[in-house]
Amino acid sequence: MTTTSIPMNAPPQTRHGSESETSPEEVLALARTLRWEIGGDFHQTLMETIYTDAARIADRAVTRPGEKPRFDLDRTIDGLVTSRRWGIPIMILMFTAVFWITITGANIPSQMLSNLLIGTIYPALQQAAAAIGMPWWLSGFLIDGMYLATAWVVSVMLPPMAIFFPLFTLLEDFGYLPRVAFNLDNIYKKSGAHGKQSLSMMMGFGCNAAGIVSTRIIDSPRERLIAILTNNFALCNGRWPTQILLATIFIGALAPVYMAGLISALAVVGIAMLGIVISFLVSGMLSRSLLKGEVSTFSLELPPFRPPRVLQTIYTSFIDRTLYVLWRAVVFAAPAGAVIWLVSNITINGTSAAQYIINVLDPIGLLFGLNGVILLAYVVAIPANEIVIPTILMLTVMTLGATNLGAGAGVMFETESNAATKAILTAGGWTVLTAISVMLFSLLHNPCSTTIYTIYKETGSKKWATVSTLLPLAMGFAVTFVVAQVWRLVFGAG
């Protein structure tokens, strides 16, 4: 054997030894030599050393109660919320309550905000602009474009978020959410994910950007990336209205009147469930392919229950989450409104730019059961999903050339009644297939720009931001394509 070996004992160095200068390299070399001597388990030895000291000091300082308190409330609550029989029902009950309070509680303030921002301020701004003699293109760009889109997003987005996030935060402060992750971990483990992903998904039902920020509670790199990349499959607040509207006017209408409400509700829940199923599938796929090499660890600490401080929680969660998300949405929505107004009002040879684009996109859209208007609406609505339906209505009216409908080129609107909306859409060529395709595409398409930006900020990686953008988009096109073709195969061209 010809291997040379390093000297096992470095020459003894004493404090008052040689006067010769020592260089950093020599110290590092000595450190490396010593590492062969002390063995590979150094880290463990060091930790044991520290913990030995910590245990001794703690033992001296802490006096534990001689006997356990007879009624330990924490244990009782824990026993209940994690029990096999009651754990899951309690969880379902809690979250149903949270969503119910959010949906019903948001309706009234949403309507009030809409009345104020769109019903009162918007005409007032238009009058003011006319009074000071603002040119039509400037007032259109600023008021019909930027202001209206922003007002739309605020009135749709703010109330549910201002209710949902504080409620969620209260559960979090109480210490209940870690128990949910604990209960659901077994399901998530099967797809290579972390139980805490259930919570970032639930936050995602409120807003995907907030859901992605909340993945910070997942401390394992691989599982956190999975949670970030699949959060978009949680149907967010901006997309629920689209689902509900289309389910009501197209799917519910297929059923007898007394069943219509139930059927359309089931359709919406079905889409949300599909999102959850897809998030499991994609999680499993990612953990076995793209993310195979990422580090994976699991630990979940169950903190003690703490009585939440209600007022402070509402205040801080409003500041931190609601306003944060809203601000980003506004920053992105205003330019989107401007773009929508511009493409509808810039005309070439008497035809608007929007019309040109729609004509190009139409045949592509048809392949997927969609149409050019929908595709264009989704392109301009990248900043905020809330404006998809108003944009579709506006563009449809524009392509129809119906001057008696809508509010003018580039001006988003919603109709007073579902019947009027259905009339406009049917005139625009919509069928049940179109409605189903839009519902699917609304679930499966690129996240909004706020979310993409958040993913970029959270992962610090353009690669993951791109993957999270293109992956759902590709899935959306694949799913709508197959559904559309099979539909036509079965029901004939529709």
């Binding site: 913990y51 994690t82 979940l300 036509r488």
Partner: protein, 345 residues
């Protein structure tokens, strides 16, 4: 509008072709790239490594041996070796191949890159042990010396790869593990596994599947030409001698306690309300997960009690140094415990 049936067929074909081309690990693009990497330089480096391995084992390196190991023809091997001889890397004395000092240096550089990369995969990525060797076999040829040094620095100059093989330092020096085959130690002699040979892969996979890892303490209880029986971390194993020789051990002092049957429990065996004292964290658990365990205070001597099971049946929450920590069953099974709790000092 295209006919839906045709559209579906065309799309299906397109998807099929894309998958065929870009499928990870088995797609045509990946295969083509891989075949390009198998060039002459790679083969020459593998030949040096093979000769070094023979020398280390005290075996005679021959042209046939190298050709067999590299799975290339004799003529091709002869060509490779002739070039290596010209470059002063190999000397050929009456059919016996030897490495020159330069050749040994070159071989050690490749081995260093290989073992460092395995260490990296084991400690800082989520790849399983089955994938370490294969990846390292490819990367050892493409990492330039500066990057190998940077990798060593990033890993904190590790001394051993995850199989227990020493990693040569930048000047090619290292301390051999000094182990002997498991079959060579005396019966009932406590010993520690220092190395598990990772080639051939089929045997390595079997040993890994048995849960054997460097760092485990073992005790041989039977060694015959038919079978080798031994205790390792509380489990009895029976191996064919051919497998057992791939495990290297160093004897431990007689006083060392080898975990035997009665103690062979892990945290996963605790029932609710029961307590156990950590005796060791399995060597199978390494990298980020091992450090996390330690940060949470899971160390030899820590007393842990099982407190509650999730409604989903799996993670179990344990009381660890006052905190309630949920661990999955496969994690809990990596923490070996004993139920003998000495009375508190």
């Amino acid at each position: 509008m295209p006919d839906p049936l045709i559209a579906l067929i065309v799309a299906g074909l397109l998807a099929g072709i894309t998958a065929l081309l870009f499928w990870p690990e088995r797609g045509l693009v990946i295969r083509w790239r891989r075949s390009r990497q198998m060039n002459e330089r790679v083969l020459a480096e593998d030949a040096l490594k093979q000769i070094h391995k023979s020398e280390m084992r005290g075996q005679v390196a021959t042209l046939d041996g190298v050709a067999g190991a590299l799975q290339i023809s004799r003529d091709h091997t002869a060509e490779l070796l002739a070039r290596a001889e010209e470059n002063g890397l190999v000397s050929n004395e009456a059919g016996v191949l030897h490495l020159t000092p330069e050749g040994r240096n070159a071989a050690l550089h490749i081995i260093r890159a290989h073992r460092l990369w395995e260490r990296y995969l084991a400690d800082q990525t989520g790849f399983g042990e089955a994938q370490w060797h294969g990846q390292a076999e490819i990367l050892e040829h493409s990492l330039p010396p500066e990057e190998v040094d940077a990798l060593a620095a990033k890993l904190g100059y590790p001394t051993h790869d995850p199989h227990g093989d020493p990693i040569p330092d930048a000047s090619g020096q290292y301390v051999a593990h000094g182990g002997q085959p498991l079959t060579a130690i005396a019966l009932d002699q406590p010993a520690q596994i220092v190395h598990i040979e990772d080639e051939p892969e089929t045997i390595y996979a079997q040993l890994v599947a048995l849960g054997l890892y460097p760092g485990m303490t073992v005790r041989l209880v039977e060694a015959s030409s038919k079978r080798v029986r031994f205790w390792a971390n509380g489990d009895e194993h029976v191996l064919a001698p051919i497998l057992a020789t791939n495990i290297s051990v160093v004897p431990l002092p007689e006083t060392a306690t080898v975990v035997v049957e009665s103690d062979s429990e892990t945290l996963a065996d605790l029932k609710l309300g029961e307590r156990g004292k950590v005796s060791a964290i399995s060597p199978r658990c390494r990298g980020a997960e091992r450090r996390r365990f330690m940060d949470l205070g899971i160390l030899p001597g820590t007393v842990i009690s099982a407190e509650m099971v999730s409604a989903g049946g799996d993670p179990t929450a344990y009381r660890i140094r006052e905190a309630l920590i949920a661990l999955r069953s496969e994690q809990a099974s990596m923490i070996q415990i004993t139920r003998r709790l000495e009375p508190a000092a």
